[in-house]
Symmetry: C2
Subunit: 442 residues, 2 copies
């Protein structure tokens, strides 16, 4: 009998909730995003629940938003990923630690070195989420007036990956001898000088740190654009993505796995983990009410602005407590997104205010239900090849996280869909990924 397919779960933790109203939810910690004691507790709960990894997104700027939205945003102050994950590596033992780092606004020597260091400090639990940083606000913090053009960013990213992985292979695993008697510390035959000279980058090497415990930290990639998918297919071991529903997820899954196959890779070496907000209730109705309550905590001004963008029409004059007017003009802008709003309004019978809260809060993929219904849905996604697992987004903290670790995870375990204990000690082992061979040494 073939082994049952199981889910991989990583926790999206920067910000601790993607929902902009999360910090106001009754009983939630308003400073959850920037309180080390809370973050320690969160990661320890996630480890106790056997999550694969704790995932830190990142931004190299205060997010660009109107001041009225900014003053209500819990995203403004955050720990830098490497310092936070290194700290958290000392209060955990097994859970993976995924940090985002930019190939556009950083140097490959720095990135290779920091991930190698985190991998050593954590005994093989580091992962690099490769991003090219599209946000033009970031460019302005790094000496530029305009952000770097998309295809140029991806060209550099691809070469950057080659340099970083080349630097990680600077030393054979047995390069360090440390024989006190003979006085030989290192076998210089087992040190490789990269001497990279490409179109975008010139880096000599070697790296000044031993090869990472995992060989290479796990490679994560999130781009959904054409070059983003291609980069993922060629390099990623985990893909973080944001499909809106099962059908689009299946198509994205097939596309990326197909590209990977075309690049000569087995589908098993690449795990696709869509982001999903999970709201657990005692009943489906209870869960839906939690979500409505959460959406209601988004300030109406920014909520209605988000809804207007999605509708492609100014919604600020609509009656907040009535359904959407029937005669919304059809504009050229965002036809698909407009249709999505209309469908949602119809399906869930939402008022303008509720719709606005949804679009101003978090309108991506969500599983809202009981532990049983959510587990059932996740099994469908797994079996229908829409996902190899999920990047779990929490609605609010700590309760929304506890609901997942204490209620959903046991249900997934009961169904044989999720591990009851870690299979190994490194993140590669949790994900079932092989340790890469050193390119320069056997």
């Amino acid at each position: 009998m073939p082994e049952r397919k199981t889910l991989h779960l990583t926790a999206f933790m920067r910000p601790v909730s993607l929902h902009s109203g999360a910090w106001r939810y009754p009983g939630s910690y308003p400073d959850a995003n920037f309180n080390l004691a809370h973050l320690k507790s969160f990661i320890q709960k996630l480890e106790a629940a056997k999550f694969d990894a704790f995932f830190m997104a990142d931004h190299l700027a205060v997010l660009n938003m109107p001041v009225e939205a900014l003053k209500r945003s819990h995203t403004v102050t955050s720990f830098e990923p490497f310092t936070l994950l290194s700290a958290l590596s000392q209060v955990t033992e097994k859970i993976g630690l995924a940090a985002t780092a930019s190939t556009t606004y950083d140097e490959p020597y720095h990135i290779a070195r920091r991930f190698a260091s985190l991998d050593h400090l954590s005994n093989g639990r580091a992962a690099w989420n490769i991003v090219t940083t599209g946000n033009p606000e970031s460019a302005k913090n790094f000496g530029l007036d305009e952000h770097v053009e998309h295809s140029e960013r991806y060209k550099r990213a691809r070469e950057f990956y080659d340099v970083v992985t080349g630097l990680w292979d600077s030393f054979a695993d047995d390069a360090f001898i440390r024989n006190q008697e003979s006085g030989i510390y290192l076998d210089p035959e087992k040190m490789h000088v990269l001497n990279h000279r490409g179109d975008e980058l010139k880096v000599r090497g070697p790296l000044n740190i031993a090869r990472p415990v995992q060989g290479w930290p796990v490679i994560v990639q999130a781009g959904q654009s054409e070059p983003g998918r291609q980069l993922a297919a060629e390099t990623a071991e985990v893909v973080f993505c944001s499909p809106r529903d099962l059908e689009s997820a299946k198509s994205l899954y097939a596309d990326i796995k197909g590209r990977a196959a075309a690049a000569g890779r087995s589908g098993e070496t690449l795990k696709i983990l869509p982001a999903a907000l999970i709201v657990v209730g005692d009943t489906v109705e209870d869960a839906k009410n939690k979500r409505l309550k959460l959406d209601s905590l988004v300030h109406y001004d920014s909520a209605i602005a988000s809804l207007s963008i999605s509708l492609g029409t100014d919604a600020s004059g609509f009656d907040p407590d009535a359904p959407l007017p029937a005669d919304i003009p059809d504009t050229n802008a965002s036809k698909t997104s407009r249709a999505g709003v209309l469908k949602l309004a119809e399906d869930e019978k939402l008022t303008v205010r509720q719709l606005a809260g949804r679009y101003g809060g978090y309108s991506g993929l969500a599983f809202v239900g009981t532990p049983e219904t959510i587990a059932q849905d996740m099994e469908v996604w797994l079996n229908e090849e829409a996902a190899d697992g999920f990047t779990v987004c929490f609605p609010f903290l700590p309760q929304g996280l506890d609901d997942v670790t204490e209620r959903l995870v046991p249900e997934l375990q009961r169904r044989g869909l999720f591990r009851k204990d870690y299979e190994g000690t490194t993140l590669r082992e949790h994900l079932g990924l092989a340790r890469p061979k050193n390119q320069f040494f056997t």
Copy 2:
């Protein structure tokens, strides 16, 4: 009665010993430099002994040395400072955490952010050792063929400091309100956009993290060149330096404090902490023998090469076990350094082999004696205004560190020269430095 002047002590910990033979000393850990469990134990011992800070030097390359020296060097593999110090911040509570970061090969936004993050994670214990990275090997890892010229590096460093401190002041201390009821997270009036546009750097801001606990992490500087001293006088709160003896230390001390006064600063706001190797013995003779033993562990080939450089003449043909020949030719190269070798040979009656071991091992300032003689010497340095304390370099680990924390420190405490407990919780408090006012908010 005026308060007794007391010493500040920081521990130089990258590498864990500057002495190239340290890792071979009997009983020492050969992997002390790259073993997290050891490093945790070292910092916890230093904290128990009430050291001001744990100091990580840094290099952005494998040090350039001939392969025969490289294969014997314990410096090749090291943790990256931010990842290591962030990890160590979670196993300590009071000791300062000083990281080196380069103004030449990094970006002010990254540096400001990482130090702010480390300062928050450690509850106010971070310090930034500003370096301009002179090592040409580093340039080759960052896209350059030649290293950046000295005055250009210092020009950028000075402006870099303004940008980093400006970014640290992005938010008033009371900017974050987090009122769940009103939904106001942040007072945007208390956020400052830097908009820096200088000759060297263009950085908009604001930083995406709250103002550091210490206001600004403590500023450390180590340059001894003319522009290095000037930068220190204008910006540094701790100066790490390497005078060879009491007289040169007094002159350096007076020069830097004088420059600081000329820049309008009180001498109290700048602590000068020369690097000193400390070798403790039961008797002075015992300590000297430990040092001779340690020097003897440097491989003769690299030791004699170092001696030849210091002498300005090829010493490889000399009889290793005889005193220096009397007729060493006087060359133009390194007159001062040659005189230093001759004086040392005379003072300590060393053979060529022993001299070579000294120069190949560590030939900087050292206190070698009993706890009593070393404490006495340190008191002289303090009272004669040669130092405000020391950056302690250990001869080998763990014993050489234990000798300092368990034998020298109690003797210093007995004499009232060193604290018996921390005065506060932040590194600024340990050093007696005020928390800087925010430039943009009162």
